[in-house]
Subunit: 197 residues, 2 copies
């Protein structure tokens, strides 16, 4: 019982003290335009090539971001507000983007990302979350108890992990072309692959 | 002598076969707008914080990119064309951005990056480089013989290594805020730091 209280206290302090929702929303607002400026109309060497068998291209990553906009963040936030810890989130399908990308161009995926993200931020703002709402807890299928604060912070960090991944995938295409300069390029040494969130 | 020819052949094949200069220029053209869309008007938590003592913020990285636009790529390309292997490049000052950033806002640095990059691409195009020019060799102060092709490919990959770094610096600010989700976020596990190029 003491252990349980200790755990509870830890969850509460990590939720309340560090999360300014405006910072999260600001970052979430910037990402679609950043990916659009980086990727739209680039030659396919940069956007359609991956890092080897069973890895993703930048195109695949944008599809994954779109799938997460539909299936992950807002549905899970609503699940926390509605069910709390009494019902675990649906597991997130890490290959869910396969349906998102079928028959689409990168330009279409980038347009969709901008639209879905904008709609979701509107929906997030409409929830009018207060600091004590951010402490509310939900049940992640593999992580166990998490807070709404942690879920929403992860939404922003998930953008960054995939921007990080995209820059690594793109650099990979030039790993031989740069010759001996590869020694200086940290991105070519990165093994920070993301799992599903 | 056989060894030397073997080495020469290796340098030639890595220069000629893999480098399409249009791909490089296309990426170089996209980067300023991508960084602008990502960073401009973000709260300072994302742009001015670093990863700990003696590390860079996103602001510092943009300063470094500006310094490299002035001191690295075009001057070195011209050095190769003018002096070949007879004169080593001036060493690149990894702290050269300290002069670039002094008294400036992030908005000013982003404006400068867009301007410097645009001028440098114009200058690169004016060199009217042909495939055999890309094979030309220069002398790097620590790497030894490198080709013009490798230098120009590194210019593009250097953008990517710093986009990769910026996304990692930004994610670092939320490493505690995401709570247990950190397990899924590869960017929080990345140790792919770049050295000077």
């Amino acid at each position: 019982m003491i252990l349980r209280e200790g755990k509870l206290k830890k969850i509460q302090s990590r939720a309340v003290m560090e999360h300014n929702l405006d910072y999260t929303i600001s970052l979430l607002t910037h990402t679609p335009a950043a990916l659009n400026a980086l990727l739209r109309d680039l030659p396919e060497i940069w956007t359609l090539r991956n890092e080897g068998e069973k890895t993703w291209s930048a195109f695949d990553v944008v599809g994954h971001l779109n799938y997460a906009e539909r299936a992950n963040w807002i549905p899970r936030a609503k699940s926390i507000l509605q069910f709390g810890e009494t019902r675990a989130f649906d597991p997130f399908d890490r290959e869910g983007q396969s349906r998102e990308i079928q028959g689409k161009s990168l330009g279409q995926l980038l347009d969709e990302f901008a639209r879905l993200r904008s709609e979701n931020i509107t929906e997030l703002r409409a929830l009018n979350l207060q600091p004590k709402d951010l402490e509310r807890r939900g049940l992640h299928p593999s992580l166990g108890v998490i807070t709404l604060s942690e879920l929403l912070a992860t939404w922003a960090a998930h953008d960054l992990t995939h921007l990080h991944q995209i820059s690594r995938i793109m650099a990979h295409q030039y790993q031989d072309t740069v010759g001996p300069f590869s020694r200086f390029l940290g991105v070519l040494k990165c093994a920070g692959h993301s799992a599903t969130a």
